[in-house]
Each structure stands twice: as C-alpha cells, then as structure tokens.
C-alpha cells in the first residue's frame, strides 16, 4: 500500500500560531484572521476525524469482539483476539517474512536511491531529464500491473529464465516462484524496482536544497568527493533520509499488493505478508473481522514503535 506523504511542518504553521506571543489578540482584526484560519482548518480536520480516526476507533472496538460473520460478541477475555495471535503459526510466519523484507529491502533501496540521486544531481550529467524520468517511471506504475509483469517474467518459462539459459548461466529453468527463497527474492527485487525511483525524487529535492557554498567550502578545505559526500552532503540530508526511512518501513510493513498478486503468498504461505493474511482472515476465509481488526492493530503498533525508534535514533535536531 502506498504511504501517504507526511508533511509534519505544514501542520504546525497554522495561522493561529503565527500570532505568536499574544494569547490574547492584539486587535479584533487579528482575532478575526485567526478565526478565519481555524475555519479553513475545520473541514479537513473534520473529514480526517470522520473518515480516519472514527473508523480506527471502531476497529479498536471490533478487535475486542469475536464471532463469525455478523454474529459478533464481546470476546471473553477482551484480549482474546490478541492472545489468539500468540498461538497463530501463520501469523508468526507472515511477521517473520515481513520483517525479512524490511531488513533486506529497505537498506538496499535507500542506499541505491542515495547513490542514484547523487549521480543525477551531477551538473555535468548529460540527458538528465531522460535519466530522471527513466528512474522515476516505475514509481508511477500500478502495483498490481507491475506485480503481474514480474510474475510473468519470473515464470518457469518466463523471460528471465529464457535469458539466463541463452547466456549460459543455467541449464534448466529455475522455479523462481515455486521455492521459498527465490520467491522472496523476486518480491524483494520487485520492491526495489518499484520504489527506488520514488525515494530518488525525495533525495534529489534534498540535494537541491543544499547550499552549494558548503560544498565549495569543503572543496577549498581539501576534502575529496567521498569525504564531502559523507561529511557535508549526508548530514544536511538527514531529515529527508529519516523521512524516507520511516515511509519505507511503514510501507513495507503494510505491504499487500506484491504478496497478493506476485506470489499469492505461496509457496506454502512463505511469502505472505501480514496485511495479506489480515485480508484473508477478513474476506477470503470465514469472515473473522474481530481477529482481522486485532491483526491490523498489531501492525499499527509495530509501525509506530519502529517509527519512534527511528526518530529517536535518527533525528538529533533540537
């Protein structure tokens, strides 16, 4: 699932805060301006509250209920669904798989994105527009479409096997999607292809905000390109790197489309993500919405905890 882009700074620069230092407004005009600002905020805030926070609250209630289909009752004990999860082998498998995707894919993707962004930012690079487009285009492709394309090219008689046989690397086709390790590899490759360009855009934006004089100063002081990159460029990109880390973590933990479309969770559920399992529990199998809601809350907690750790570790601004 696509992660909504968070713009933390926007939210705090509301008109109300601009009238700083004066809790009581200096003039009726200022007061009116402030009220106008709040009035502009209300529709969006109300919509977010109604469409996001209210359903989230309802899901929380639902996660304390149990029953098949519409015959829902309060669970006894209330945490029944959460206790049940501890005995759920499939959930444990999907949790492991999802975390595996996270620790392998996110670092590779972000480092690659950082390198690509720096190459693209080089003023002497020719065909810059073309490269930028080429790298960003995957991010504009529907998750389902690309999953299906990957599924096709990694089929036993697909393009990848044909190419590898033609080059002479292998003699017999590899059953990419039929073996746990290769199927997971294909999902990770897919994620890298789809999301690296997306992160490059963020890094390019960050790079363009770096004051060129700082780079020149480093050069004057005799720093080579690598030293400059690590000591001058990276520190200035830190907030953006943190943002992409949080977004990627969030997105990977909630990943659904690739698991559902590319591998169908197979072989033997070993590529299934948590969100895919949640979907199966709620819609594919006998509808167990209480358990599904509990699963979604566990995913939320995992995302929140990881994001908190990352912010603690990554954000040293005061």
């Amino acid at each position: 699932m696509m992660t909504p882009v968070v713009r933390p700074d926007r939210a705090t620069t509301t008109p109300a805060k601009r009238t700083k230092g004066s809790p009581r407004y200096s003039s009726p005009a200022a007061r009116r301006r402030s009220l106008t600002g709040w009035a502009f905020l209300i529709p969006a805030a109300a919509l977010i509250g109604l469409m996001m926070f209210w359903p989230m609250f309802q899901a929380l209630i639902l996660s304390f209920q149990t029953g098949r289909g519409s015959n829902l009752d309060w669970a006894d004990p209330l945490t029944f669904n959460y206790d049940r999860m501890l005995d759920d082998d499939i959930f444990r498998l999907t949790l492991t798989t999802t975390l595996l995707y996270l620790v392998i894919q996110v670092p590779i993707m972000l480092v690659t994105a950082l390198v690509l962004a720096n190459i693209l930012n080089n003023p002497r690079l020719k065909w810059k527009g073309f490269w930028r487009t080429a790298i960003f285009v995957p991010a504009a492709i529907s998750l389902v479409s690309y999953s299906l394309v990957f599924r096709t090219i990694f089929a036993t008689d697909g393009l990848v096997n044909d190419a590898l046989i033609w080059v002479g690397f292998i003699d017999n086709p590899i059953n990419w999607l039929g073996e746990t390790n290769t199927a997971r590899l294909v999902i990770i490759l897919g994620l890298l292809w789809r999301w690296t360009g997306f992160n490059v855009i963020f890094y390019l934006a960050a790079l363009q905000n770096i004051d060129p004089t700082t780079l020149e100063a480093a050069k004057m002081d005799g720093a080579g390109p690598i030293r400059t990159f690590f000591s001058v460029t990276i520190p200035q990109m830190k907030p953006m790197i943190l943002l992409t880390v949080i977004m990627s973590t969030n997105g990977t933990i909630q990943m659904f489309d690739e698991s559902y479309n590319l591998t169908r969770g197979g072989p033997a559920n070993t590529t299934m993500t948590m969100s895919h399992y949640l979907f199966d529990v709620s819609f594919q199998n006998n509808p167990n919405f209480g358990y599904g809601a509990a699963l979604s809350y566990v995913i939320l907690i995992i995302v929140a905890v990881l994001a908190a750790i990352q912010m603690k570790v990554g954000d040293k601004r005061d």
Partner: protein
C-alpha cells in the same frame, strides 16, 4: 467457472487497488445507487412482475439467465429480469458488506453463488438467504452431490446451475503415439493410470497431467470421488487419520516424482500446458472444456472419460466434481415469483438447457435435461464423441460430500501441506500441521 474465477481475480485485485488509492471515492455514489434501484426498489414494488439478479459471466451464467427470462416470458408475457453483472470477486465482499451492515434491502431477488462458498455464506450470514425447500422446486431431479452444496440442516437454499462434474480429458493423438486409446483409461484405477502415464511419458516425453503447485484441486477431486472431504459429517476437520486423503496424497506425490504430473505456478501456465500440447490430458470440472476448445488446432484430438478410482478406499467411484455454482434466493426477494421462475426454468425447462448448452457450453445439473437430443449430439472437438451425454451420466453418479463452512481454510491448509510434503516433510507431520491450522481457524 473456475477459469473465470481465477482470471477475474486479477481484475478484482486491480479494482481493489484502484479503490484503495482513490480512498473514499464514490462507491456509494454509483454502485450503491444501482443496488438500491435493483434491490429495495424491487422489494417495494413486490407483486409486480420483475426480478433482479446478480451473476458474473455475460457469456455464461448471464446469458443463461437471459434465455431463462425468454422461456418464462412465454407464459408470463409481462415478466422482466434486471440482470446486473457483478463479478464473483465483487459479489462476495458485497454480500459480506451488506450482511455486516444489515442492509438487506440492497440485495437482489436472486444471486449466483460458487458452490464451494455456499456453506460458508449460508452459515455465516443466514439472513442473506430464503430457504426454498418447500417452494415447489423439484430438488430430487438434481444429483444429490450437487444439491448438497446448498443444503444446510436439511433446508435447500440454492438451485444448482452449472455442473462441476469432473472429467478425465485426454489427447487421443498423443495416446496413439504410445499405442493407447481412451478406452485404456476408462474404468481404471489410479495405479493403472500411473502405469499408463509412464508408458505415455516414455513414448512421447509428455506428462499426463498438469496442475498448480500448492493447489490441491486434483487431490480434492480424488477425495470427493470417494464421497469424502476434509470434514466429517459434523463439520470437524479430518485431515489427519484420513485414509482417502493419505491415499490421494500418495498418488499425487508418486505422479509428481515420476514426472507424470507437471506442477506449474499459475493458472495461465496450467492453461498454457493444455493448449500448447505439453501434456497428454487433464482432470478437472467440465467447465475446463471452454479453455480446451480455445486450442482450435487440437480439434478432434481430445476424448473424455471417467476418472480413475482411488484403490482400497471404501465408497470410491469414478466420478467427482470441482467448482460449479448455484442460484440463491435472497432474503429481500419476491420469493413466490423468484421460486416459480426458477422452478419453471433452471429446474423445469429442457428448452432452456437445449439453448444454453450449444451456445454457452452450460451443462445442466437438472437430470431430465440430459434426455434431450441436444446432449447426445456428437462434438466435433472431441472427435465426434457426444461428451455432454457422458457428462450428464457422470454427474448423476457424483458422490455427495460435506464441504463445510471452512472449505477454503482446509483447502489452503492442505495445499500448504502438499507443498511441504513435496519439499521433503513427512506427510504425517505436514498433515498434522494442516489439521491444527484448520482447528485454529475454527476456534
């Protein structure tokens, strides 16, 4: 049906994604409004002569409904049907949503339901259905194996539509290379099938069968051919200590090991193995015929016979089923009109079945339809064999079994177990795990 089902999955997934990306778009605006017109509008106007129907395939079940409308109009000239195309992948969540939100007014009068999902829906959401046992529909004119899908606690909830009667389809030209004919594959056991398969493999290099790895369709067909399923009559999972299941898994692993059964990864690869002539046959529901016939270059080179029997299992037969669907009457229906309509068409009109068989390949479950001449016409694609008459006679022999509400959970769990067994896990361990997975889902 399953063909459409799996192809449709892709689109469903695409639709789901599009929906989730546009977040809170206008689901209520467009589709809901349609539903209101169809459903509650109809209910309000109960007594007038029209019915709303949800079905999913314009070339197949919707076409059949349109023909049924014409048949019924002969005696009821002012009768009309409002048939709405709702893919199965949309229909299931729609039913779930309506049932969860208690908005039964949005239901149509009649909707189509996959046989394998019937028990699940009727047990979880009984409020969606109207029992139609005493409605005058002659359920005894359908094979028991087919009505059993839609019977809950002795009450009938559905009128069977298309048959999932299983056939063993064989490439006569490939068999000929090995010096065999379809007759050699008729009324045999699985052991004999394997022996013949080895002969074919040796002579032609082609496996007998293909199927999707991790999807236990073949094994479940073997089970049903012995009147068994993954559940006992009380609905308890019987994955461990299930003699028929262990025999079926044993047959399956033997075939894979010997190269007689080609495991592929997707539905498209499976169909590809058939139409590209990579295998010498297939065993599946009769609906597979639609896909086979897309390979026009193979016309005349196919034959159909019954299934091999599972040796040493009580009640084993040569007949089974996979897939199929039934018409359900909703709780929001004009019940009298809906049941009379179904009784005089899908459960009472040879004329209807005579039309939809040649044009849509819809094989009747309704036994009297099989006596019609249309069914005994030779089929050119099958070398002049009148396969539909054969299929009707197979259908009458299919043993009933209990699919239960947890059919999909059990099916998935057994699929996982088979993947593990193929990877080297001891069958007892893998099946034990599958059993506990299903028990876990049920508690």
């Amino acid at each position: 049906m399953m063909t459409k089902f799996r192809k449709g999955l892709t689109f469903a997934a695409a639709a789901t994604l599009a929906f989730s990306l546009t977040a809170c778009s206008s689901d209520d605006g467009t589709e809901g409004a349609e539903g209101t017109d169809g459903g509650s509008g109809e209910a309000a106007a109960a007594g007038d002569n029209s019915l709303t129907v949800w079905a999913w395939d314009p070339a197949f079940n919707i076409f059949a409904m349109e023909e049924a409308e014409k048949v019924y109009q002969e005696e009821h000239p002012d009768f009309t049907l409002d048939i709405q195309e709702v893919t199965w992948e949309d229909l299931q969540p729609r039913l779930t949503t309506l049932a969860q939100s208690q908005e039964f007014g949005e239901l149509p009068d009649i909707f189509l339901m996959q046989n394998n999902a019937f028990q699940k829906n009727a047990l979880n959401y009984p409020d969606l259905f109207t029992p139609i046992t005493d409605s005058g529909i002659a359920f005894d004119e359908f094979p028991e194996g087919v009505t059993a899908y839609s019977v809950i606690d002795g009450e009938n909830y559905g009128v069977p539509f298309d048959a999932g009667t299983a056939i063993s389809a064989l490439r006569t030209d490939i068999l000929e290379e090995a010096g065999l004919t379809v007759d050699d594959f008729t009324d045999i056991t699985w052991d004999e099938y394997i022996a013949l398969g080895e002969q074919v493999l040796e002579a032609t290099g082609k496996p007998m069968l293909s199927g999707i790895a991790g999807e236990p369709d073949t094994i479940l067909m073997m089970l049903q051919s012995a009147g068994q399923s993954l559940f006992d009559a009380e609905g308890n999972p019987t994955i461990t200590d299930n003699e028929a299941l262990s025999s079926a898994i044993d047959i399956y692993s033997q075939m894979v090991e010997k190269g007689i059964y080609l495991e592929v990864n997707s539905w498209d690869e499976y169909i590809g193995s058939l139409v590209n002539g990579n295998v010498a046959g297939t065993i599946n529901g009769i609906w597979i015929s639609g896909s086979l016939q897309t390979a026009e270059d193979q016309a005349g080179n196919w034959g159909v016979t019954n299934l091999p029997i599972v040796d040493g299992v009580d009640g084993a037969t040569h007949y089974s089923a996979n897939g199929g669907s039934s018409w359900a009457v909703s709780s929001n229906a004009n019940v009298e009109l809906a049941t009379d309509f179904l009784a005089s068409t899908f459960a009472g009109s040879t004329e209807l079945y005579d039309t939809i068989l040649p044009s849509a390949g819809a094989v009747a479950n309704w036994l009297p339809a099989g006596d019609s001449d249309v069914y005994s016409e030779p089929q050119e694609f099958y070398g002049g064999q009148p396969i539909y008459a054969d299929v009707i006679s197979f259908g009458a022999e299919v043993p009933a079994n209990n699919t239960g509400a947890y059919y999909y959970e059990a099916r998935d769990a057994v699929g996982v177990a088979i993947t593990q067994i193929m990877g080297g896990t001891a069958p007892a361990d893998a099946l034990g795990e599958a059993q506990s997975t299903v028990e876990f889902a049920m508690n």
